[in-house]
Amino acid sequence: MDWLGPAEWEAVRLSLRVAAVAVAASLPPGIFVAYALARWRFPGHGLLNGLVHLPLILPPVVTGYLLLLGFGPQGPVGGVLEAVGLPVAFRWTGAALAAAIMAFPLMVRAIRLSIEAVDPGLERAAATLGASRVWVFLTVTLPLTLPGIIAGAILAFAKAMGEFGATITFVSNIPGETRTVPSAIYAFLQVPGGEDAAVRLVLVSVGVAMAALVLSEWLARAVARRVGSA
């Protein structure tokens, strides 16, 4: 693949890392929120659902701006993160944060649906066998929702690979640090004659995304087969 220059390769590698970290870090809270939305009734249920979906609906630049206000060097959370040695401003970690937040609704939706498909009778059966709530979740609900979780994670990964607006607004475009594939594509589209390079990177994104989607369908089916019908 020597048709990609070193800077482009760097962007691809960085995007892969950012997307992977975004998905890995958002999976636990994603599963928790999906579980809460699927199984609990509480005041603010609708509000939580709305909040989770917000990044899907807000213009990404607005999301990025809000992230900047909250997680930037001057932001309330950003200061704390900096103090504990996990700075996100203008770092690839920030790009991962932006990607995670933008991909969160897709992940939560997929996981929520698969949790709703798990027979609560199985969870009650596990409780009668002595498993506490947490154990029921870990030994029954979680393994049974694996197809949905995998599908959600891969979809989120693809989305994270493509995130642009919130990322560039929040962490800018720093080669090697926050210059992901979409930022590079945007930059190429800004200059006359940059289309060719942009097309190459679009092809890479599309390839990765397509592979992720096909893999996700396949994995979900394979897991569903393995888990089988009781």
Binding site: L68, G72, F90, I168, S172, I174, Q190, V191
Partner: protein, 231 residues
């Protein structure tokens, strides 16, 4: 009929006022569409129904001209701009922008906010100026590039970055940043805002272009921090 003007986003406010005056005086409506110059140029190349194009840099106008999209002889430089160094800290002292400026020290480990230095005009000019002054290598690793010049301005305004390089017109638009100094005129290619009529536009487009070069329009543009050509 109305005149449709595609203009660089940085001209939003000035052109809004001029268009209102123009409509009052002539009765001809003006439809303004603002976006990044590159997006607008591509749309015009694809046949967008624009009558007038005002670009924030000459390159995109050159592309359209080579493409035969603009009316021969209608192109002129509407205004000029300058790039400036701005700071978030209102107490910071003004500086002379010379090769001896120690930008690295001024940043104190923070980021220098600019527009994309390879793609967005404000970033390209800023990079050229820093190169010319021999300052680029010292700060290259600390530059945070935003997708447009307004986003760079915002990074400084919110304090995410202590310093930034933006247009003079941007710097005067908000009280949240302090202008530390203007880059020497010879440190970068001239920053021109070419305007032109698009092929297929009517007489109204020409009268709007003419109007832009006359008294109230010129003053309004200057009020918003743009520099008059040759001024």
């Amino acid at each position: 009929e109305d005149v449709t003007v595609f203009a660089a986003a940085s001209m939003t406010e000035a052109l809004g006022e001029i268009a209102a005056r123009f409509t009052d005086e002539t009765g001809t409506g003006v439809v303004l569409s603002f976006a990044g110059s590159s997006a607008l140029a591509r749309q015009i190349a694809q046949g967008a129904p624009a009558d007038v194009f005002i670009s924030a840099n000459a390159d995109w106008m050159d592309v359209l001209q080579a493409d035969g999209r603009i009316v021969e002889g209608s192109r002129f430089d509407l205004t000029l701009n300058r790039i400036v160094l701005i700071a978030h800290d209102a107490a910071m002292a003004e500086v002379d922008i010379t090769p001896s400026l120690d930008l690295g020290a001024m940043l104190e480990g923070g980021r220098l906010a600019m527009a994309l230095t390879e793609a967005v005009p404000a970033g390209i000019y800023g990079r050229a100026a820093l190169d010319h002054l021999g300052l680029w290598d010292a700060v290259a690793g600390q530059v945070a590039e935003a997708d447009n010049v307004r986003a760079a301005l915002m990074l400084v305004a919110t304090g995410a970055a202590p310093l930034g390089i933006v247009y003079y017109s941007d710097a005067v638009s908000t009280p949240d940043v302090r202008m530390l100094g203007v880059f020497p005129e010879d440190s970068h290619p001239p920053i021109t805002y070419p305007a032109a009529r698009i092929v297929g536009s009517g007489d109204a487009a020409q009268s709007f272009l003419d109007y832009l070069q006359r008294s109230p329009a010129v003053d309004i543009i200057a009020e918003h921090g743009f520099w008059a050509p040759g001024g």
